[in-house]
Structures are given as C-alpha cells and as structure tokens.
C-alpha cells in the first residue's frame, strides 16, 4: 500500500488491528447496505466484547446477528433491535447491554463524531426516558437535550463503487448510515461491489471523500431482502 492506494486484497487485512473490547460503527439500515463480508470476517476472527454502533443489529443468522451466536457483542447502540430472537434472549438474560437511541440522534451522533463536534442539542427525546441523566437547556423558549457524539475504533461501511483513493459512492437507499459511519472511525474500512479506475468517479458525485477512508476492499454480496413487497 503506497500513497493514496487504499486497496487491500483480503478481508483479514481489511480488519487487521481489530481487537477485543473495541467500538465498531457499522453502516446499514435493516439488512440494506450492510457490510456483510466485514461482519462475517469479525465472526471468523472471533473478536469479542465489542461495542457495536448501528441502527439495527441484523436478523438471526445474517448481518450483525451472526456476531450474537458466539456472544461477540457486549453492548449495542441502536435505534431498533427487533427481528432478532437471539438478541432478545441475550438482552433478557442481561448478557448484552443495549442503549436505544432515536434514529436521527444516532445519525447525528455519528456525523458529529466524524466532524469533531463532541456534543449537540436536539429536541428529540425531551421528556422521555431517553432524556434521563442528560443536560437539558432552553433555546428560544424550547427545551433541548445534550447528546454526545460517537466515534469508533473501527467503522465498517458498505459502498457501491470506490476508487483506490477511497472515494466512495453508494447505491440507492443502501446509502443510509454508511457515509456517517465512514467519517466516525479511527480506521474506516469500506467494502464495495466494484473498485473502478482512477478518474472514473465524477468528483461532484462522491458521497464519501477518500480522506475519511483507510482501507477499501472489493467483495460479493448476498443483499438479503427483509420485506419483499411487490406491486399487485
């Protein structure tokens, strides 16, 4: 790897340095736009005691759900954790800690974390259990909660196309949390469907500029559909 060539050739290399007890921020919404091969590599590596920051926690046997069977995750920060029986079981037994976070607040926590903003104020959650223990301040007659931003030791991201500079574009709604996660990792790893030649991506259309990205790997994806709905 030299200069701006961020390509790595194996998933082992892509997640080199990931250790027990680290915080991993993952892109994806439901099973859409999840870094499925990077998750599979974490399973293979057997890294444990992870804090995972992700909107959802996968389903039984797919996505982040695969990290539950060997109890690799000790804490989850997410907005919605349904659709996962093993997760429910571990939650009820107290084997896993979950911090439920409103979806927009979670997105902003990642964005702010990546942008060097330690905290922000939002009206979301005022007067609800989410507000417990948090500073409330009034601006223009309305109450707002102080929410702290999030950064991770690693960010794992699913893109559509990237070049070797680490510039990334996402496809359709598989974008979701991915560009935010990408900014918030000390080491950001992006897996994509295609690595294109330098110059092929239009600079005006880049979603994630390469400065945020440390490693790029090309993979193949199952792209499982959670709710298959068809027009009648």
């Amino acid at each position: 790897m030299a200069g701006f060539d961020k390509r790595v050739s194996s998933y082992e290399e892509a997640l080199a340095g990931l250790k027990d007890g680290m915080t991993v921020i993952a892109g994806g919404f439901g099973l859409c736009g999840i870094p499925e091969n990077l998750i599979a590599e974490i399973k293979r590596k057997g890294t444990r005691d992870l804090t995972v920051v992700s909107n959802n926690c996968g389903v039984d046997g797919f996505g982040l759900g695969v990290l539950l069977s060997d109890r690799q995750i000790s804490k989850v920060i997410a907005s919605y954790v349904g659709e996962n029986k093993l997760f429910e079981e571990q939650l009820l037994k107290g084997e896993i800690e979950v911090i439920l976070t409103p979806q927009g607040t979670l997105a902003e926590k990642m964005r702010a974390g990546g942008a060097g903003i330690p905290a922000f104020f939002t009206a979301t959650g005022v007067g609800t259990p989410v507000a417990e223990g948090k500073e409330v301040r009034e601006f223009n007659g309305r109450k707002y909660l102080m929410e702290e931003s999030i950064t991770g030791d690693f960010a794992i991201v699913k893109g559509w196309k990237a070049d070797h500079f680490g510039n990334v574009v996402y496809r359709h709604t598989a974008q979701n949390f991915n560009p935010l996660a990408a900014t918030a990792g000390k080491i950001t790893v992006v897996e994509v469907e295609e690595i294109v030649e330098p110059g092929e991506l239009d600079p005006t259309q880049i979603h994630t500029p390469g400065i945020y990205v440390d490693r790029v790997i090309c993979g193949t994806f199952e792209k499982r559909i959670e709710q298959r709905t068809i027009r009648k």
Partner: protein, 221 residues
C-alpha cells in the same frame, strides 16, 4: 360503526395539500398513500433516506438497495432524491416535513404521546419516532380509540413512557377525529353511526363536546 383501517387512512388523506412533503409511519399510516386525492401531488418521505417514495416494484424491478423505513422494497418516483440518514433527519428535525402521520399506544390531553415502549414487555426501540414527533409541527396520530379490553387510549396522562412531550395536536381514532387544545380533547367529528355517548364513554381524558359534532362522510364503495 367504527372506521375500518382503510376509512381511517381515507380520512387522514383529506388533510393532505397539494405540494406537501409527508412522512407516513408504519401500519395504518402507510395506507394513507393509497387515498391521496386525485390531481394532488404529494412527496412521501421515508426516514431511511428517500424523498419521493413510489409504489412497490414489480417482480422485474425489485431491488434490495431500494427500501423504505418499513424495510419493504419500494421504488422512487420521478422527482425523488436519495440521501444519508443525517440528511434525512435534518429534514425531519428541521421542520421541513409538512405532515407526519404515525401510530401510538396512548395520547393525553397535554399532547404527550407514548408509542414505543411497554414496560415488562420486550423493548425493540423507538426507531425514528422520537425525532419525528419532536421535529414536526403538523402531526396526526392514528390509533384505535380503546384497547381490545375496552381501555381508553385517550388519557388525562399517558401511563407508558413517552415518545414525545406536548407535541400532538390532532388524533384520528376509529371512532372520532379530535384536536387537543388547552389541556382537553375537543371532539371535532365522529365516525358514521357512532354516538357522542360512546365516544364520551371511551375517552378517559377531559373531552369537550361541541353542540354539533358532524359525522364523517365516506363515499359508498
């Protein structure tokens, strides 16, 4: 007779205006999209990052990368835009969405809403609901007036943990359309054939009943 799910959706659709950006929650709110009045153009916002949601795809055009907030496969209409989750909630939190329609377990006379957590039962998460109720000015809650056991869901004080405080002004139930003003529900319309007495009996929170409460009208199907 109590309104059907479809009639509830139909009634809420009458609150649409041409040029509105609208976020529809999961469940009955989703059905509202089927009753947008003809000749009216509305853009549906889906909080996973889509403004301008179109109908479900065909078998040929189904695409795993194209879903809505309910994780259903959808399409994008002409004029749509797709963006990241922070951008999506900037629209929501910044008050740019004209109308938000969502479900609830309970609503009270102070405009509080509880919709995400039943203590003692498994908590799955609030998703985007807290952001939606905090960010929108114009919110309509759709829910049944009472639980299956007959317990009122329109209360003087929500008993469940809140999704948002003091943010709800309008509620459509299967029995009535109500607005929340000065610490009370105001009965604005009733479902066809439903008596004021029944609504009074099933409303636990303070209810103001005007002299005349019109019946909702639905075209014969």
């Amino acid at each position: 007779m109590a309104l059907s799910r479809e009639q509830m959706a139909q009634r809420v659709a009458r609150e649409m205006q041409d040029g509105y950006y609208v976020n529809l929650g999961i469940g009955i709110p989703t059905l509202v999209a089927n009753y947008i009045p003809e000749g009216m153009e509305v853009m549906l916002q889906s909080e996973n990052g889509l403004l301008g949601m179109g109908p479900f795809p065909t078998e040929e055009t189904i695409d795993a990368d194209m879903i809505n907030a309910g994780k259903q496969t959808v399409t994008a209409r002409i004029g749509a835009s797709i963006f990241n989750s922070a951008e999506s909630f900037a629209m929501i939190r910044g008050g740019h969405v004209d109308l938000t329609v969502l479900g609830a377990f309970e609503v009270d006379v102070e405009g509080n809403i509880a919709s995400w957590m039943i203590p003692g039962k498994l908590v799955k998460g609030m998703g985007g609901a807290m952001d939606l109720v905090a960010g929108a000015d114009n919110i309509i809650v759709i829910m049944t007036h009472a639980s299956k056991d007959g317990e009122s869901k329109l209360l003087s004080k929500c008993s469940l943990p809140l999704t948002g405080a003091g943010c709800i002004k309008r509620v459509l139930t299967d029995l009535a359309y109500l607005e929340i003003e000065n610490g009370a529900f105001v009965l604005k319309e009733r479902a066809p054939g439903v008596s004021v007495e029944e609504i009074v009996a099933k409303t636990a929170g303070k209810l103001i009943v005007p002299d005349h409460v019109p019946e909702m009208q639905f075209a014969a199907e």
